[in-house]
Amino acid sequence: MSVIDILTRVDAICNKYDRYDVEKQKDLNVSGDDAFARLYASVDSDIEAALQKAELASKEKSKASAVAINAELRRTKARLLEEVPKLQRLAIKKVKGLSTEELAARNDLVLALPDRIQAIPDGTAAAPKQTGGWGGSAPRAEIKFDSDGQFDNEYFQETETSSQFRQEYEMRKMKQDQGLDMISDGLDTLKNMAHDMNEEMDRQVPLMDEIDTKVDRATADLKNTNVRLKDTVNQLRSSRNFCIDIILLIIILGIAAYLYK
C-alpha cells in the first residue's frame, strides 16, 4: 500500500474512534454551556502546567530560580484548591443532557482533584494531608506563605557555608574593634601628654625672656669689665716698665753668675 492509502485509513479509524478520545471530548465540552466542564477543563490544564513546572524546578541547577519556581507552584496550587469547592457545587448541579453516572463520575473527579493538586511537587518535604471536609475556609488554611518553617530544610543547606563565613566575619570584626580600642587609648594618652607639653612650653616662655634680658645685662657688664681690665693691664705693661724689668733681671742674673763662678 502507498503512504496516502495508510494515511486515509488512519484518518478513517480515528474518526471512528473519536468518541472514545477523552481529551477531544473535553475540548469539545469546553465550548459547551456546561460550566462545570469548562471549569474542570481549566483546572485540569492548570494542573498539567504546574506538573510541568515542577519537572523544570527539579531539574533547575540554580537554587534561587528553583525556589522562585517552587513559590509560584505553591501559589498556583493554592489558587487551584480554591477552585475545587466551586467545582464541587457545579458537579452536584444537574445539567441537561447529563446522565446520572456521569454526574457521579464528575463528583469523583472533583474529589480526586485536591489530591492531584497536592501531589504536584513543589519542594515541600511533607505536605500535610487534609483529611477533613472542604469547608469554605479550609482552602484558606492551605495557603502557605513562602517563609514557612517547613521550607527551612532547603534553606539550611544554603546557609551552612554562609553562616561559617558570617562567623568568621564577626570574629574578625571583634578583633579589629579590640585593636582600635587599644589604639584609641594610646592616642588619648598621647593627646594628654601633648597638651601638657604645650602648656609647659607656654609657661617657660616668659621665663626664657627673663633669662634673656638678664644674660644680656651680664654680657654687657662683662664686656665693660674686660675693656677696663685690658686698659689696666696695658698701663701696667707699658714698654718703659717692661724694659726696666728686663734690664734689672739681666743685672741680677749677671751678679748671680759672678757670685757662683
Binding site: S184, T189, H195, D196, E199, D202, R203
Partner: protein, 296 residues
C-alpha cells in the same frame, strides 16, 4: 682665718656683735662672715642644731648689712635644717621670714618658692599649716601675674585637702586652678581642673553641688567644647540613672585617667554609698518640671 673650730668662730662673732663698753657699734660684716663660716662647718659636721643657730645669726647679720637676698638665703638654709630636726613651728617661721625677705628684694618668685618648700616640708606633720602656706604662695604668684607657676601649688594644696578629707576646700582650690588656667589660656589644665572638682563633689556625696558646679563650668566655652565636658556629663547622667556599671565604665575611661593621681584614686572609689537614693531624688526633681511643662 685658719681657726677651724666653728664654736670658737661663733663665740668670736658673738663678741663682735655684742655691744659693751668697749664696743660702741657692732661689726656686723666680720661677724656675718664668721657666722657663715661656722654654719657651714657645723653643717658639714652634721651638727644640725648648732648649724641652724649659726644660720639664723648669719641671716640677721646680712639683714643688718642690708642685703635681704643673702639674709633670705640663710633663712632658708636654717629652715631646711629645722625641718630635719623636726621643729615644725620654726620651719614655718623661718620660711615665712625668708619669703618676706625675698619680697623685700622685689623677687616674688623665690618668695613663693620658699613658701612652697615650707609647705611641702610640713605636709606630713602639720597639714593645715601646709595648706595655709600653699595658699599664701599662690596668692603671691597671682598678685605678680604669674599664674602659670601657681598650678602646681594648687594641685599640691588640693591633695593635702583631700588627705584632710576637706572635700569642699579641695574642690574650691581646683576651681581656683581653673580660674588661673583660664587667665593663661591653658585650656587642658582648666578642663581637667573642672572635671576633678566635679568628681570630688560626687565623691563627697554632694550631688547637688556637683551639678551646680557642672552648670557653672558649662558656662565656660573652653570647657564646653572639651572631652572632659563629655565625660562629666556622662558621669552625671549615670548618677541620675543610678547606673553603677556605667559609672565604673566612665571612671575607667582614659579622660579620667589623665587627671591628678589623688583625683583618680577618688574617682575609682566613686560609686560611694547610695546611688539609688540620688536617683530617686533626681527623679522626683525631674518629674515636677515635666508637670509644669505639661500645664504650659
Amino acid at each position: 682665718m685658719p681657726i677651724s673650730d666653728p664654736d670658737k668662730l661663733i663665740s668670736k662673732a658673738d663678741k663682735l656683735t655684742k655691744l659693751s663698753l668697749t664696743r660702741w657699734s657692732a661689726d656686723w660684716r666680720n661677724a656675718t662672715l664668721l657666722y657663715e663660716e661656722a654654719a657651714n662647718l657645723f653643717r658639714v659636721a652634721k651638727k644640725n642644731e648648732k648649724a641652724k643657730e649659726a644660720f639664723e645669726k648669719a641671716s640677721k647679720g646680712q639683714e643688718m648689712l642690708s642685703s635681704p637676698w643673702d639674709a633670705a638665703k640663710h633663712m632658708e638654709s636654717a629652715a631646711a635644717l629645722a625641718k630635719e630636726l623636726g621643729y615644725w613651728n620654726e620651719v614655718t617661721d623661718f620660711y615665712r621670714r625668708a619669703s618676706e625677705l625675698y619680697m623685700e628684694c622685689g623677687r616674688p618668685q623665690p618668695a613663693s618658692d620658699a613658701l612652697a618648700k615650707g609647705a611641702s616640708a610640713l605636709e606630713d606633720a602639720m597639714p593645715e599649716a601646709a595648706v595655709q602656706l600653699y595658699n599664701d604662695a599662690s596668692a603671691i604668684l597671682e598678685e605678680d601675674g604669674k599664674e602659670q607657676m601657681a598650678f602646681d601649688l594648687y594641685r599640691a594644696a588640693t591633695s593635702v585637702y583631700i588627705k584632710l578629707e576637706k572635700y569642699s576646700d579641695a574642690a574650691s582650690s581646683l576651681l581656683q586652678l581653673g580660674l588661673a588656667a583660664d587667665k593663661c589660656n591653658a585650656t587642658n589644665s582648666q578642663c581637667k581642673a573642672y572635671l576633678g572638682a566635679i568628681i570630688i563633689y560626687l565623691y563627697a556625696h554632694d550631688f547637688k553641688q556637683a551639678e551646680k558646679c557642672y552648670n557653672d563650668c558649662s558656662q565656660v566655652d573652653a570647657f564646653l567644647r572639651s572631652d572632659q565636658n563629655r565625660c562629666a556629663s556622662k558621669l552625671l547622667s549615670a548618677y541620675t540613672e543610678g547606673d553603677i556599671e556605667e559609672i565604673k565604665r566612665v571612671v575607667q575611661s582614659s579622660t579620667v585617667s589623665n587627671l591628678d593621681h589623688v583625683v583618680i584614686k577618688l574617682a575609682r572609689k566613686l560609686p560611694t554609698g547610695d546611688v539609688s537614693a540620688l536617683k530617686t531624688d533626681a527623679g522626683k526633681e525631674e518629674e515636677e518640671p515635666l508637670d509644669e511643662n505639661d500645664l504650659t
